[in-house]
């Protein structure tokens, strides 16, 4: 079942011609000419479309929280920089018109005065493709004044980022969009829907979330909800990477396949290299707690994964086989977060740096046995109790994203750590 990826089978999926030949803008016409904004929002609420950016909040419910005010904004989050996440990258390069159509539908539903698509700065081709799609939309009357003669007008502006993972966090993104350093804002207010861009109510939605809207408008919220099960409705893009034979982005109906299917299935990852075995996998991006072979039969569903102690997050599955060093993997993840910390909160800024250094010395064979307790203590300072979902002492959840990899690696691969320390080198090197 393909929804957001339906057009990707065509090599020219990014062109206006292919877009229009495959039902492009049908949903936008339907929304603007036959539906009220409330009716569009009601379909999205019925669909139970969970946000695809990481937190998994229902899009319809978020829209409902929009504070009543004269001016409101829509901001599409295309900053995608969570390690091993590359699904939005695919969507912006390969189906940019669908994104623009979805953004225009969202802008109509919430009555946005202006919509901004914020794209990661490193997506040079994506920036070209999305700008082209925006230009096309203006040219054919699908954007700007009086769209398709409906009386509804809106502009979309494309904004490039400039290389800062933290700007994916929605309040940091808004700061960046206002021309500032990407410092996450102090909560409350918890949602930009209350105070967002320039202090006005703002809906921030992920690229994949928004790309689902045309299908939902065309086919109805019930049809979307009939796919998947429980709270996990519709399909999702899963980005599979690491030590697996066929890494890639796979769109699957939610809850209908398991991690085993995704990693080993013939139509998906096709398993590991010959004579290798799986030691661990990360189910939802670098910040999610690790899973192990005993979790392989869990279905790809938001609540199913949460109940097992991790998260589906950004839908990125990272596979590690027995040739890799778990200490090194955990270190590399911690190093990323330490480097990307914006520095506002002491536990994140200092804790991340310390953990990075201690992990490095263990991996290089200079560690001490006390380092394991020290690491766990530092984790506890960043996220008290090192529980899942994480407790927070920081402004945003970048800080609490550091402990999961460290605590998983220590509890599961303690012997590996000890071997590094005893032998004074990495046993996998």
């Amino acid at each position: 079942m393909r929804i957001v990826g339906a057009r990707l089978e065509h090599a020219d999926s990014h062109t206006l011609e292919r877009f229009l030949a495959t039902g492009g803008n049908n949903a936008l016409r339907k929304a603007l000419l036959e539906m009220t904004p409330e009716a569009v929002a009601a379909e999205v609420l019925t669909a139970n479309l969970l946000g695809r950016g990481g937190a998994g909040f229902e899009a319809g419910r978020k829209w409902g929280m929009l504070r009543k005010a004269k001016r409101r904004y829509l901001v599409v989050n295309g900053d995608e920089s969570e390690p091993a996440t590359f699904k939005d990258h695919l969507l912006v390069e390969r189906d940019p018109h669908q994104l623009v159509e979805g953004a225009t539908i969202a802008a109509y539903a919430i009555g946005a005065s202006l919509a901004v698509i914020y794209l990661r700065g490193e997506f040079a081709l994506g920036l070209e493709r999305v700008q082209e799609a925006i230009n096309d939309a203006y040219r054919i009357g699908a954007l700007g004044r009086d769209i398709f003669g409906s009386g509804f007008s809106v502009d979309i502006v494309l904004q490039p980022g400039a290389g800062a993972y933290i700007c994916g966090e929605e309040t940091a993104l808004l700061e960046s969009l206002e021309g500032n350093r990407g410092f996450p804002r102090i909560k409350p207010p918890y949602f930009p829907a209350v105070i967002g861009l320039y202090g006005d109510p703002t809906i921030v939605n992920n690229v994949e979330t928004v790309s689902n809207l045309p299908w939902i408008v065309e086919n109805g919220g019930e049809a979307f909800k009939s796919l998947g099960s429980g709270r996990s409705t519709g399909t999702r893009l899963f980005a599979l990477s690491g030590q697996v034979n066929r890494p890639g982005v796979y769109e699957v109906e939610m809850t209908k396949i398991t991690f085993r299917d995704l990693i080993f299935g013939e139509e998906f990852g096709q398993g590991l290299a010959p004579s290798r075995s799986l030691t661990a996998f990360i189910p939802g991006g670098a910040s999610s707690p690790w899973f192990f072979p005993e979790h392989l039969d869990l279905p790809l569903g938001q609540d199913e994964v949460a109940k097992a102690g991790s998260m589906l997050g950004s839908g990125s599955v990272i596979v590690m086989d027995d040739s890799s060093c778990p200490v090194r993997s955990a270190w590399r993840i911690a190093r990323f977060f330490a480097r990307e910390s914006c520095g506002q909160c002491t536990p994140c800024r200092e804790g991340g740096t310390w953990i990075d250094r201690i992990m490095e010395r263990i991996e290089r064979g200079n560690g001490r046995e006390e380092d394991l307790d020290l690491l766990l203590d530092l984790c506890d300072n960043i996220s008290p109790g090192v529980v899942w979902p994480p407790a927070q002492t920081t402004i945003c959840v970048l800080g609490p994203s550091i402990p999961p990899a460290i605590s998983a690696a220590i509890s599961r691969f303690r012997d590996d750590f000890l071997l590094h320390i005893k032998e004074g080198r990495c046993p996998h090197a």
């Binding site: 005065s113 990661r120 997506f123 502006v157 490039p160 960046s176 320039y198 890799s324 590399r332």
Partner: protein, 206 residues
């Protein structure tokens, strides 16, 4: 050099006019400065400040937060080798070492001829093509040591000129659309639409 001139000045003024608050143009304008000069010069910062109504220190303060902005000359080609988790699991560090020996400079430095700057970068969202490389933000992968040497050869010979513009040029597609709808016009339209919305809600209640 430095201040925007000619066609770039026209573009800069357009960009500054795209937002309810011109300060929102700071990041796009820093990219434009890099497109002109390869890096963000002090003169460009001063000019951006004038265009958006901020101080130079404010523009500098914003720009210095972001990894993509360079404040001194870099190579014509900035080559990023990803060593983050998915690339690491597929030889990213080995590739970084090979890249370093091919170019003869450690990560973070520029070759003496000013052609290449090598960088170790974080995940560039190309993880299914690991290990991934970006050259002036154009994607390659999976790349091995021989493949890397070959790429460098092609860059030197100019074979990739059409595909990879010089450092600083991001999207080559410019906004081609009517001027933004004045916000007062949108406000009036939304006020009318909100009125209709409330009327519909009221008629449902009856």
């Amino acid at each position: 050099m430095g201040r925007f001139e000619g066609e770039l000045l026209v573009r800069a003024e357009k960009v500054a006019g795209l937002y309810p608050d011109p300060r929102s143009a700071i990041i796009p304008l820093c990219h434009l400065a890099q497109e002109q000069d390869g890096y963000v010069t002090e003169e460009a910062i001063a000019h951006i400040a004038e265009l958006v109504g901020a101080t130079g220190a404010e523009v500098q303060g914003t720009a210095s937060f972001y990894d993509m902005f360079k404040f001194e000359p870099v190579g014509e080609y900035v080559i990023g080798v990803c060593t983050n988790i998915s690339c690491m699991l597929r030889g990213g560090y080995g590739l970084l070492e090979a890249a370093s020996s091919t170019l003869g400079v450690p990560p973070g430095e520029t070759t003496p001829d000013g052609m290449f700057t090598l960088e170790e970068v974080e995940c560039v969202a190309h993880c299914d093509k690991a290990p991934a490389v970006q050259i002036n933000y154009r994607y390659f992968g999976p790349v091995d040591s021989e493949g890397f040497a070959e790429l460098v050869g092609q860059l030197r010979s100019g074979e990739l000129d059409g595909q990879i513009p010089k450092h600083g040029t991001l999207g080559r597609v410019l906004r081609d659309a009517p001027p933004l709808i004045p916000v007062e016009e949108i406000d009036a339209e939304r006020a009318r639409q909100d009125g209709e919305r409330e009327a519909r809600a009221a008629s449902r209640e009856v």
